[in-house]
Amino acid sequence: MIEVQNLTKRFGSTVAVNDISFSVRKGEILGFLGPNGAGKTTTMRILTCYIAPDRGRVTIDGHDIESESLAVRSRIGYLPENTPLYADMGIIEYLKFIARMRGIPSDRVNGAIKRAIELTSLQAEITKNIGQLSRGYRQRVGLAQTLLHEPDIMILDEPTSGLDPNQIIEIRELIKQIGREKTVILCTHILPEATSTCDRAIIINEGRIVADGTPDELVRKARRGATVVARIRGPESTVREKLGAFSHVRSVTSSPAGPNDLFRYDLSIEEDIDLGEDLFHLVVAHGWTLTELRHETASLEQVFAQLTGAEERKLEARG
């Protein structure tokens, strides 16, 4: 449905988007994740024909964004970051304006508006001017306008930013519901959003794609995939050596956890395998004591932090 090839965009001397390529299948909900300034919004602006790329090609539903810009724009429902709206207009007035601009025939305008209002539950505040609405309702108006022309593709840039936890849940449910039959690109830096709403996630950092896969795949692929934490009473160097000998264990670190040779061992393992039984048998065979055994699966947060350098910076800061 969406094909992006070698997209590059520079602003002055900064490269915002650096040779990225990805594709989105029809009906997929793709999460576009990245820290602030990574290039997410710039990429979306190129896809929606707001700005032109310096290099690269993008085709949306078979149409090229540069040569068939109008065809592309008519197929996308776009909610820009910060949900820009005309504050001096009423909700229906605004939706009518967008509907007309989208070329919806006059006899279908009212029906389209009614449907959009129902889908986004705007009825309660329908008489107000947009400037008088709360943030949550403004976001809903923004979502409503993307639905008017029943597009196949929706591009939402940080749709839950600035909302309170309840509103966030509502909007996410809405997106999941609406996205069922549509192709959706969801830009966010809120990771739980990606895990709960998206089929697939792309992590972008400093203009480059650093990961591409389902949330599960990403977690599995991460280098520091999982950690096993065990507290064992026994001779520290021997324990460490034996633990390190297990297959798939990348490294073992130990720290004192109590008197009488009680140490805490953090095993960094390559893949998310269950070391529990083998470790138990090892401890029993050597006559040591096991007081804690814990499995920590990597979360998308860890993957994200690792890929986007936040962890390195944290370690550096600790000195």
């Binding site: 032109a52 310096d54 724009r73 776009y78 820009p80 910060n82 001096d88 304006f97 989208r102």
Partner: protein
């Protein structure tokens, strides 16, 4: 697809939904008519020339004031992104905004009709004198066209910045420069060879005939050309985000 009309409708509604438009109109009308009648009774002639002659100066303040937010506000609030990602050709948006301003200007002109009407009523009092409608109509057509030029220039200025005040200043300055180019003030100071060309492109110079009620086709072509030029520049400015 006449999205121009949709944009026009939105712009006009937006103007009149806040007090701003009404305030500007009132100030303009009071200033224009106050000025005119102050001189009118002193001069004692049933002539509207005083009104038409000084209009280019009054417009210099009204028109940048009503156009300044046109593009600047959209850029500042972010609705530009919304507008430009709709499946509407840029030109139609540019024209929609232009015609909305033009309609606003027409309304302002229509509201000044109290002046010729007053003069007309005063004239009837004297013996058998009649008012020649020709120059009056001609004058208003000229003002309408001149308004188009100012609007096109000021809309272009608005498209250059996010800041309304800056848009106002650039619009005001540009119109002033164009106004003064062919005026006697400037013509005194330039070398002989430049006099004719400057008169040709000067805004006020082209207005002289009209202020007397004479519609010269050369002046009309001039006004339409300058308007078209700045509309083209405006469209290019909007388009430029797509340039590599």
């Amino acid at each position: 697809m006449r999205h121009t009309w949709t944009v026009l409708g939105r712009e006009l509604r937006s103007y009149f939904s806040t007090p701003i438009a009404y305030i500007f109109l009132v100030i303009y009308l009071v200033a224009t008519q106050g000025f005119f009648f102050y001189l009118f009774f002193r001069v004692g002639e049933a002539d509207l020339r005083l009104f038409f002659f000084w209009q280019p100066l009054f417009m210099l303040f009204l028109i940048p004031a009503i156009t300044m937010r046109s593009w600047a506000e959209e850029k500042k609030v972010g609705t530009m992104e919304m507008l430009m990602t709709l499946p509407v050709p840029d030109l139609q948006v540019v024209l929609g905004k232009f015609f909305a301003c033009l309609i606003f200007w027409t309304i302002a002109l229509v509201l000044t009709v109290t002046m010729p009407w007053t003069v007309y009523r005063l004239v009837d009092v004297s013996q058998g004198a009649t008012v020649d409608p020709g120059p009056i109509i001609g004058g208003y057509v000229g003002l309408f066209l001149l308004g188009g030029v100012y609007i096109a220039i000021c809309l272009f200025a608005s498209s250059l910045t996010e800041n309304q005040i800056v848009a106002f200043i650039i619009g005001l300055a540009s119109c002033t420069v164009l106004l003064l180019i062919g005026s006697t003030l400037v013509l005194y100071t330039v070398p002989e060879s430049l006099v004719k060309p400057l008169q040709f492109i000067g805004l006020w110079a082209n207005f002289e005939n009209i202020s007397r009620g004479v519609i010269d086709s050369r002046n009309v072509i001039y006004y339409l050309s300058v308007t078209a030029l700045f509309l083209y520049l405006n469209a290019s400015m909007i388009e430029s985000r797509k340039w590599k």
